[in-house]
Symmetry: C2
Subunit: 110 residues, 2 copies
DNA sequence: TCATATTACTACGACAGACGAAGTACGATA
DNA sequence: TATCGTACTTCGTCTGTCGTAGTAATATGA
């Protein structure tokens, strides 16, 4: 399992990535993260929803209510152009980060 | 420049890596990080020294005073066997983390 | 029919780690 | 005499994560 301190800086990016694939809502995104990571990373609910707030405050996503006539009402999110630009930036940063951290990592493939 | 939230989970690992190369002290480690990362990552002093405290509390490093007869007295650190084991663990975790985050990253090499 | 599970959140409070600002202490150089 | 570089230390703030708990609706099974 991956410790949250490691992935911390990428929670927002992970959410934005999934929203690039179309509008979605909390519970679905949570399941998608679990699936795509093959259970190796599970984002906690509170972490997820606080990330939505932060992303919306920054203008990276927009929220709206679904028109479900059944079940509990969902809050849907869609990525904004600003969010897409931010996502792209983060992807570039990631390549740099990988490169830098790798310099401090040894390979133990013995 | 790399944002600190990203590298957060690896500050301890970075320090341990440098201590694997031999005993050292804060200021030197700070400079080594700067050099090895080619200025792409600069660990803040407060972050560095609080990491030392944490690492020592966890038994991953040991501290001792240098016997400088000039200049301000340095606190040296050396990595313990427990610290080496922890470092190794972190290296393995890093491979997993890279793999997971990569699944949420797009390549923009256009 | 009653309990439990699943979906879909919200609120609250605690905690850890990063970091800015400022200060201390020493030596070397200009 | 002043400033720069070395080598830290203290203090307080902020952000993000997360545990706990609660709400609200539908679906499933005994």
């Amino acid at each position: 399992m991956i410790s949250s301190d490691v992935i911390r800086g990428y929670n927002d990016t992970i959410i934005l990535y999934l929203l690039l694939g179309g509008e979605s809502y909390g519970y679905e995104i949570s399941k998608n993260i679990k699936e795509l990571s093959e259970e190796k990373y599970i984002m906690k609910e509170t972490t997820l929803y606080s990330a939505f707030d932060r992303l919306e405050k920054n203008g990276y996503i927009e929220s709206f209510y679904g028109d479900e006539t059944f079940g509990k009402r969902r809050t849907y999110y869609r990525i904004t152009p600003k969010g897409q630009a931010y996502y792209k930036e983060k992807c570039e940063e990631w390549e740099l980060t990988k490169d830098v951290i790798n310099r401090f990592i040894k390979e133990w493939n013995v």
